[in-house]
């Protein structure tokens, strides 16, 4: 048996050292979120994680869709692609494929990523681009004022779901593990320290990384409150994230919802590696032009000569 030494890294913890995230901060902004919204700590946590990873704003692209969570790039100093509802993952994949040197994070809410963008969620996992997918999961629609989201719990009554939600809640973690996603985690916006570490690991991870982040919606979800999340979650301990079956089992737990890194797949090539475009040349696409000699040679073949 091989004895693999455990790498122990000394981390800067937030408790003893405030992280100066000013490179990502924006001044004089009018934030559209309600006071007490779970989006605030997620914004703060992401800035900290990126600062600790020493990623520069010019090398980062935040891609989002539509919804309250999807407004997060507007409160950030960095490159931003705030596209259409449900579509963040498609441009995020393409941005990374066009320039793999960029750090790309696709971030939106549960309605955007799992509802409107559900098909892209499934197929992006299969495609495995080296991007991070952060999903603010408050189990409700905020921007459209309080309807059920794909992750709303059964029985949740809304102005539309008047008899209470009866659809089976979407289980993003179980779906991701079933698709052998390369990194699958769940965090809670109320635990800044743990969530910062998960974000950092997800961003550093090579391949598609999903972080589903529980957050309260103070205006429209009176069921899944901060208190509810505290009482109904627990942190995974002594869990081996390479054990896919165990990870799946953990993902299907609903009485108390586990937090932490559920699953990491065996190493596999990313989309950018599989397409072959960067095998010999690391240059981003915008620095390249077509090889006219090769094009002439190709056209020549259509002359059909012996």
């Amino acid at each position: 048996m091989l004895l693999v030494p455990k790498v122990i890294r000394v981390k800067k913890t937030l408790k003893d050292k405030a992280v100066d995230t000013h490179v990502f901060d924006m001044n004089d902004i009018d934030i559209a979120w309600c006071p007490g919204c779970g989006n605030f700590p997620i914004l703060k946590i992401l800035k900290r994680a990126l600062t600790e990873l020493e990623i520069s704003p010019t090398d980062l692209v935040l891609v989002s869709g539509i919804g309250q969570a999807a407004k997060i790039p507007h409160y950030f100093t960095t490159n931003v692609y705030n596209g259409l509802h449900g579509r963040a993952l498609s441009p995020a994949t393409a941005i990374k494929a066009a320039n793999p040197a960029l750090t790309v994070i696709a971030e939106s809410g549960d309605g955007d990523m799992y509802g409107e963008g559900g098909n892209h969620f499934i197929h992006t996992i299969r495609r495995n681009p080296n991007i991070t997918n952060i999903v603010h999961n408050n189990m409700v629609y905020g921007l459209t004022k309080g309807q059920a989201s794909p992750t709303s719990r059964k029985g949740f009554v809304t102005p539309i779901q008047v008899r209470g939600v009866f659809l089976e809640p979407f289980n993003p973690l179980a779906v991701a593990i079933a698709l052998d996603a390369s990194f699958v985690a769940r965090a809670f916006s109320g635990d800044i320290e743990q969530t910062t570490e998960i974000f950092k690991k997800a961003i550093e991870h090579k391949g598609y990384a999903l972080v589903d982040v529980f957050q309260p919606c103070v205006s429209f979800n009176k069921l899944n409150t901060v208190q509810w999340f505290k009482e109904n979650t627990y942190t995974l301990e002594d869990h081996d994230p390479t054990d896919r079956l165990k990870a799946f089992e953990k993902a299907t737990e609903t009485d108390k919802l586990p937090l932490g890194i559920f699953y990491t797949s065996p190493p596999k090539p990313t989309f950018e590696e599989n397409i072959g475009t960067y095998e010999e040349d690391r240059a981003p696409l915008h620095e390249r032009t077509p090889d006219t000699k090769k094009l002439n040679d190709l056209i020549e073949t259509y002359k059909i000569r012996l």
């Binding site: 705030n82 579509r87 498609s90 494929a97 197929h123 006219t292 094009l295 190709l298 059909i304 000569r305």
Partner: protein
């Protein structure tokens, strides 16, 4: 045989192969067209097929000529029916003049009609004697080659190369089949004194044989296309497959997206990061992309959309042709924003306009459409080789500096476009209304400024319109208008009319509409439009833009393209 004396397109012979899907008609078409070109003949080919992989009835029409042949004819000079029912499938195109080369063993009673001229060529028996009836297709290729007195050695060399990756035995048997067929054809030519007066032209050697699909794809490569994400859909898939095949040589990312929504959103993400992206699709797929077209309008992203039309609504006729999506392309996407719609009519247009589409999209930061159709995708002929030296990839990306604003106001309305990671600046785009930096805004005064900025680009586009192609006398009395794929058909039909008062105006760009349009129309005493649709969408657009109502509309919407005779007839009706 001189079937076509009246045509200024000189002599041409029309050969049709008809059989079930999966019978190898494609192989026969491929080999014959190439062998004809090798022999120095002008050649055109098109096909009509059913939406199935096996069975049904499909046909390929090949035209061979001393001069350029670029359009389909109804007439059949030589028919090779490959199985029962094939004659019935093309019945309306047959005449006593049609020479039917058929295997009596296969066709049987189908041939027993006094009004048909048929010659029994035992394709199957010949193939079986060689080793397997699957060689009967190559026997047919040989028979045509023999009938046309093509040099057997050159044809053999080509067939050998075509089957090069097959086992040696298979190559030899195919060559034997070609030779056996050739002998049948040569004997027939001798005994019946058939002499096709088709002259070889040495210039053809330097020309290329391309279909619309290949020409669009080559144009895209020449335009610097380095990213294509699409979802397979007839008849647009050829472009995706072509680019996928050449990813390595031209540094192209080619991805089959999960749906058309993902495809166009990937394309827009790619442009944002500095790539030059396109999507290729047909009407139903494009319907899903319309939100992306609107997004391109809002974030002022370049985008190239190849829309190969087929008959709708909904699934329609998947393998047939129509020009029914002009208005869809024109109005797709919510909100108001500028766009360009290019409509190639020739293989040359397909290459150069697609190439240009990338430069236009990049320069003006607008979506650019290449509007083709099934007929155009699947038809090919020999034409001058595209000249790569004549075109240039014009990238309009700037290196940003600190404080860069993606939507800075400029005189022209076009803001210099940066990409993330290139320079000190940050690049922000937002599908919401945004400020000059790219951040979301609900400032209604700023909204007006941003709308005006985007629309100003639309005015700018009018300076760069591809002019319509005019053919005919300057003092014309009647003007025939067409757009896109109908060009060559209309061109030949007009020639057949032999009138000195008729001119043809072909639009290679329909939006923005060329400024000269009204002048051309007002010059004419009579105007006629030719469209492969039921409601004359282009005539409606012309009316909207110029106030001029086109007098006569010749429309076809049964899923097939016009043929030269058909259009000539319709035009004669108008003039009589």
């Amino acid at each position: 045989m001189d079937r076509d004396r009246s045509s200024p397109h000189s002599q041409s012979v029309s050969i049709v192969l008809c059989g079930q899907a999966g019978q190898g008609i494609q192989t026969v078409e491929y080999l014959l067209t190439r062998i004809f070109k090798l022999a120095g003949y002008n050649v055109f080919a098109t096909k009509e097929y059913m939406s199935r992989i096996r069975g049904g009835m499909n046909s390929t029409s090949i035209r061979v000529g001393s001069g350029p042949v670029c359009a389909p004819v109804s007439r059949i000079d030589i028919l090779i029916p490959l199985n029962k029912g094939a004659l019935q499938h093309v019945e309306s195109r047959l005449s006593a003049e049609t020479l039917i080369l058929a295997d009596r063993e296969t066709l049987g009673a189908d041939l027993d009609r006094s009004d048909y001229t048929s010659v029994d060529i035992p394709f199957t028996q010949t193939a079986t004697e060689i080793g397997n009836k699957i060689y009967s297709n190559v026997v047919a290729v040989g028979a045509i080659a023999g009938l046309f007195d093509i040099e057997l050695q050159a044809a053999s060399k080509y067939v050998e190369r075509f089957f090069a990756d097959k086992a040696e035995d298979v190559v030899h048997k195919n060559l034997a089949a070609l030779k056996a067929g050739f002998d049948h054809g040569a004997d027939l030519a001798k005994s019946s004194k058939i002499n096709f007066d088709i002259k070889a032209d040495t210039d053809i050697e330097q020309q290329v044989l391309l279909n619309g699909s290949e020409a669009v794809a080559l144009g895209a490569i020449a335009g610097g296309c380095d990213f294509i994400a699409s979802y397979p859909m007839s008849p647009s898939t050829g472009v995706l497959a072509f680019l996928a095949k050449h990813t390595k040589d031209f540094d192209i990312v080619a991805e089959q997206a999960e749906d058309e929504i993902a495809a166009i959103n990937m394309g827009l993400g790619a442009w944002y990061a500095g790539a030059r992206a396109m999507v290729t699709t047909s009407g139903g797929g494009f319907a899903l992309m319309t939100e992306g077209v609107s997004l391109a309008g809002m974030i002022e992203s370049p985008m190239v959309i190849h829309l190969a039309q087929r008959p709708g609504p909904a699934t329609g006729l998947p393998t047939r042709t129509e020009q029914g999506d002009l208005e869809l392309a024109l109005y797709a996407g919510h909100g108001e924003f500028p766009r360009i719609i290019l409509t190639p009519g020739t293989i040359q247009d397909a290459f150069y306009l697609t190439q240009q589409a990338f430069n236009l999209a990049d320069k003006y930061q607008v979506p650019v459409f290449i509007l083709t159709d099934e007929y155009f995708m699947d038809s090919y002929y020999n034409t001058a080789a595209p000249d790569v030296a004549k075109v240039k990839v014009e990238k309009h990306i700037i290196q940003t500096s600190k404080g860069y604003q993606r939507y800075a106001f400029t005189k022209s309305g076009v803001s210099p476009r940066g990409v993330p990671g290139y320079g000190e600046g940050l690049v922000l785009v937002d599908s919401d209304e945004h400020d000059t930096e790219g951040h979301i805004t609900e400032d209604l005064d700023l909204r007006i400024k941003m709308v005006d900025k985007r629309l100003k680009k639309g005015e700018l586009l009018k300076d760069k319109v591809v002019p319509p192609e005019f053919k005919g006398p300057k003092d014309y009395q009647s003007l025939i208008v067409c757009w896109g794929s109908t060009f060559h058909i209309a061109e030949e039909a007009v020639q057949k009319l032999e009138r000195d008062d008729v001119a043809l105006l072909h639009f290679k760009q329909v939006h923005p509409l060329p400024d000269q349009t009204a002048d051309y129309l007002q010059m004419a005493k009579q105007t006629i439009i030719v469209e492969n649709n039921a409601t004359s969408q282009f005539a409606r657009l012309i009316k909207l833009q110029t106030g001029i109502e086109i007098d006569n509309k010749i429309l076809k919407y049964n899923g097939l393209s016009f043929t030269v005779e058909e259009l000539t007839e319709k035009l004669r009706e108008v003039f009589n």
